[in-house]
């Protein structure tokens, strides 16, 4: 029978995936609503004879807007597909920047709801590592979510990556004012976080100010 720690981790991981999917569907539904209204607007214009052949630019403008929403939808689907495939294998070789980029894309709306700007500061020559991309995303998501809950509106949250000698560093840097009363959020016990990072052979530490630093070995353990 699965022990309690494994069960708790599995539950929290499922909850993380659920939150990502909820954010994704929210965003997609918005894009679809815009597409529907834009198509409806063209229909209205035709029915009411508002734009004539002499002024086709009005139609072209709406069609461009539809294309833009389709492109945004497609891009988000690409990120979700990559996110889903991160779980294909327990360990795999992956680029940390790419895995964090898709996480940020899927989380941006959640941050925007609190008027927090989610930014990336990735070092581009970062080597691929062999580890669990899904668990890394789970950890980074946890710290981002925790900071989103603590930060006041109009703050910034930066995800920075850098290669070290035999490892990769992911730094989560909050910039702005912290709320005196945190929004309610279910806390993940430190024991579980420590367990995950131990399994990945890395470490979690806190830098000066409020930074959180996740370090992962460049080679799998």
């Amino acid at each position: 029978m699965e022990d309690k720690k494994s069960y708790d981790l599995r539950f929290l991981h499922m909850r993380f995936i659920g939150k990502i999917i909820a954010g994704f569907t929210h965003e997609i539904k918005n894009y679809i609503a815009i597409i529907k209204e834009s198509a409806g607007l063209i229909e209205d214009m035709i029915k009411l004879g508002i734009a004539s052949k002499s002024d086709p630019d009005q139609y072209v403008e709406i069609i461009r807007s539809i294309e833009e929403q389709i492109e945004k939808t497609n891009s988000l689907f690409r990120y979700l597909n990559r996110f889903a495939h991160r779980m294909d294998n327990e360990l795999s070789a992956f680029n940390v920047n790419e895995s964090l980029e898709e996480l940020i894309a899927l989380l941006t709306r959640i941050a925007n709801q609190k008027k927090i700007s989610l930014e990336k500061d990735f070092q581009h020559d970062i080597p691929s590592i062999t580890s669990s991309p899904s668990m890394l995303q789970f950890l980074v998501f946890h710290f981002l979510e925790e900071n989103i809950a603590r930060l006041d509106k109009n703050s910034r949250l930066i995800v920075k990556t850098a290669p070290l000698k035999n490892s990769i560093e992911v730094r989560i840097i909050p910039k702005g004012n912290f709320l005196t009363m945190e929004m309610e959020k279910e806390k993940i016990p430190d024991e579980i976080l420590n367990n995950v990072i131990r399994q990945l052979g890395g470490s979690i530490s806190h830098g000066s100010e409020e930074d959180t630093i996740i370090t992962l070995p460049a080679a799998s353990t």
Binding site: K29, I34, L41, M45, K115
Partner: protein, 131 residues
């Protein structure tokens, strides 16, 4: 009554600018006067300026949540009718909207004819309340 229908002013509140602008255009084609706001704070200040009779309100917006905006509107302007138009509202949200005095709860994407009908019905209620 016809004369009064000319007074129908709608404020459309949604953080998706493209959505709000397109929907506003469609409602204007149906002879409604429509203004837009893109977050709760902007909505509350536009209510003072534009004095709408009916507000179409999204729930999930940056800054003040739509539910909080609804609460503030009903407290300060109890006669204004608020239709919530949300892509993600749950049954619990719908219950809360009605408890706070919201006129109706519609899900995105809504049928334009149904939305227009609901707006006009909400306006009728506003007239009845102020008669």
């Amino acid at each position: 009554m016809k004369q009064k229908e000319k007074d129908l002013k709608v404020l459309l509140v949604d953080d998706e600018v493209a959505f709000a602008d397109t929907l506003a255009q469609r409602l204007k084609m149906r002879n409604l006067k429509v203004g837009t706001a893109h977050d709760g704070e902007q909505a509350l200040s536009k209510i003072k300026e534009e004095e709408p009779n009916v507000i179409v309100l999204d729930l999930q917006m940056p800054g003040i949540h739509g539910m909080e905006v609804l609460r503030e509107i009903k407290k300060a302007y109890p006669d204004i009718q608020v239709i919530v138009l949300s892509g993600h509202g749950t049954d619990k949200d719908e219950e809360e909207v009605r408890r706070l005095g919201g006129f109706d709860f519609l899900k995105k994407p809504a049928d334009i004819d149904h939305l227009e009908y609901t707006i006009r019905k909400a306006f009728q209620k506003k007239i009845e309340r102020t008669m």
